[in-house]
Symmetry: C2
Subunit: 473 residues, 2 copies
């Protein structure tokens, strides 16, 4: 794509910032001055400054002008055409030293529920799943021991196709592949779309397990900034896709992990069209999509896709039973390859849990279950938000998700949540420090808390964490 | 490694065969003649001819001399030192056009049981597994819905460690990682040891799903010949490991799939020591090891390993329930990495099936179950062997496995089992043609039959297959 004139001006301004000519807090030349200096129209400069403002490099101060923002994470600068501009390669995803420790602690400690995005088991339909299991046993007998080969149990795929209507997706069961959780669906997507050394674009921040897996597979990461209100910055994404060889873009568009946003339908449409026009596959993780606090279940990006360019992954780990390992994929035009890879890498997902979930969905109880669960999660997220406002230092900012159950907390000033993590750990409190949501060490002033469990214990842990962070506690 | 003198002579003789100077059936120069021609001792030539005989390039005919064998699959010629000799790169694993079709057919047809190596469900302890499930439900309740994080349920790992004593392995539960079937364990091993473009050495023939997965991952294959009586040719393997950059060697040493052999303990020891001395990891698939027809359960290669250089994979798909997807890995010195990869790629294996198998093993019924199953499988393999002898053309050769339940059938003359496959398919009979057990199109005169199911239907299918192959049927 030929760059626009205002895009070129924006790039030149960025170079001046990167070279140190203008530094954080500096005021930039006025629009009129720059128009003269660069020999372009006033409108072109306005558009350029507007773009850089959207990209959060600049901020406009009323009656004053444009300033270089403080504390903006440096963006990878795109490679120029014909190598005219310096290239800043997407960074290798760095190892997060905390991750291993965190999950190890997360396993055994009750104080770890702040760290792991799982709902309170009390919110899950245990008795009904058990009875679905029993029904399956009675019907199937020995059949319960056989393979339910990829793409998976027809009953389960039919039920998922029916539920998918809620998300605006008109799917045939034949478009669905059952996987061992959403993680396996993501793994298969990466194995299909990327090779070691390739570059994948992700939202920044994004789910840390995704980053760790991407790194393990030797894939490079290009981080596209996302904002808690509206999601990924589509202008930056467009720019990145034009200037980098990107093999796919990964989005969690509904009740994003960790920021909590729900992209509007218009922005989803734009995102789908952008990826299509650049021939870049869109991997969409919709695992939180079933959990809006109010209003209708949001649509997926996939529901706006007509070309098979969206590879949707989802599952029941947040709404039914994480331990069953039932996820699914709608791989679009990569169906055959994902189906084959699934067959080769694990043959099939376990038969008994496929049957149990299939039978449970068949009873029609899933939507009813979700109604109750959504209300409970809304209450829990509300209660945790209040507790954070009360117990954390002044200036702390909290995301306002409209669904799901994670909260993104930005601490004021020069707070370092990696340090906070260490001190909290000694008291048996574990959370997800902001750093692990980035491939390049960003977000060290932030942290993610899960409101999946809200009880006296977690309330106490949040209060204590607030105090450790310098708040009233 | 500096090549030995007799190795160099053997290489020169091989070049003469490859260049067409000596062709299949041709008599080679006498030992004395060659000794003069190459200016080496008579003993050196003797050793060279002996090596080539072991490698199955030559055959010795009493009172006559050495001849180039007919029908010997061409071996990849090793690269020379400093490029003095021509290099024949390990071939990219070729796509097997039949595979997809075969498994698709295998799914739906009863006539497909000859193709898929699964035991008759009637041989499996369905009622006991069901009751183990119920016990687990009663004990655990909601816990059945939680993650059983990698490395997996402690109860199950303890039980596996106890059973492993039968195979000569003194394991701690902490050395074991539970996987979603042996396939996932193999996938994790490959992801750990190889990158795209790397070379893996395998037995030829070997399990076709392994070859397909290796190919999907962009890994190259070096095929080391194996014989139905004693297994992989250790001399060729040593030579290959010296002359190629090999990332690992894969063996199915106990009741090999497809050849049926059980390597002796001495050869296992030699293999383990060979891999250790060359710093090449040994991946051992022991999935058939629990199924000897008589005598004690054979030891694994892993049981001779003292360095953590053997990465063992196994599972319960052949002995309890394929659909449960319970496999396991003893990854030796790659434990941490496999554990991490398992966590990232699928988080955990399904909890209910881990509990069910764990509880079943805990009752102590596994060894009793195996005793009955071994006898039944021995009978079935015997019956199918007789049927093949009766119904297939004269000159057909059948493997004589001492365990497991697959038979390797070599047809006489110029038979082509890929063609036979097509004609059998039209009659609803599916088997595994020899070609898919090779990365380079070998074994087209052979086929694998599973004797996991033996009843009127499979007996009829074997008879019909014999007739299609040109036998009395």
């Amino acid at each position: 794509m030929k760059p626009t004139l205002y895009g070129e001006v924006a790039d030149r301004v960025l170079s001046l910032i990167e070279s140190g000519t203008f530094q954080a807090g500096d005021k930039l030349p006025s629009i009129r001055t720059l128009s003269g200096r660069f020999a372009v129209s006033v409108n072109t400069v306005k558009e350029a400054y507007g773009l850089l403002e959207t990209q959060r490099f600049l901020e406009a101060r009323p009656q004053s002008g444009y300033y270089v923002r403080r504390g903006v994470p440096p963006l990878p600068k795109p490679a120029g055409e014909e190598g005219q501009r310096p290239t800043l390669d997407p960074r290798e995803v760095g190892m997060c030293r905390i991750y291993g420790e965190m999950t190890r602690d997360g396993r055994d400690r009750s104080g770890a529920s702040l760290a792991i995005a799982l709902p309170d088991p009390a919110l899950l339909p245990a008795a009904k799943l058990n009875s679905a299991f029993q029904t399956a046993w009675k019907t199937l007998g020995r059949g319960m021991m056989d393979y339910a080969f990829s793409p998976g149990l027809p009953l389960l795929r039919e039920q998922i196709a029916q539920e998918a209507l809620q998300a605006g997706m008109a799917l045939s069961p034949d478009e669905i592949i059952i996987t061992s959780g959403t993680s396996e669906a993501f793994t298969l997507a990466l194995m299909t779309l990327c090779r070691p050394g390739d570059t994948l674009a992700v939202e920044a921040p994004t789910y840390f397990n995704f980053l760790s897996l991407i790194r393990e597979l030797g894939i490079k990461v290009l981080e596209i900034p996302a904002a808690p209100d509206e999601g990924v910055n589509l202008e930056v994404l467009a720019w990145a896709l034009d200037t980098h060889q990107v093999k796919a873009f990964v989005t969690i568009a509904n009740f994003n992990n960790p920021l909590g946003y729900r992209m509007t339908d218009d922005r989803k449409k734009t995102l789908v069209e952008l990826c299509r026009s650049k021939s870049v596959p869109l991997i969409e993780d919709d695992i939180y999509g079933d959990l809006p606090f109010a209003g209708p279940r949001p649509r997926t990006c996939q529901s706006f896709d007509t070309e098979g360019n969206v590879l949707l992954i989802s599952g029941f780990s947040k709404t039914l039973a994480s331990g069953y390992r039932i996820g699914w994929s709608v791989p679009g035009r990569w169906f055959d390859r994902i189906d084959k890879l699934k067959s080769l890498t694990s043959v099939a997902t376990a038969t008994p849990t496929q049957w149990a979930v299939g039978r449970f969905l068949e009873t029609g109880g899933y939507q009813r279950h979700l109604r109750g669960m959504r209300q409970r999660l809304a209450d829990q997220v509300g209660a945790m938000t209040e507790a954070i406002a009360r117990c954390f230092p002044e200036g702390t900012r909290v995301s306002r998700p409209a669904g799901g159950f994670v909260l993104w907390v930005e601490l004021p000033g020069t707070a370092d949540t990696t340090v906070l993590y260490e001190s909290a750990l000694t008291e048996g409190i574990v959370f997800s420090p902001g750093e692990i949501f980035s491939a390049s060490g960003k977000f060290r002033n932030s942290l993610r808390l899960s409101a999946g469990v809200w009880n006296e214990g977690t309330a106490r842990a949040v209060a204590r964490l607030g105090r450790l962070a310098g708040g009233p506690g």
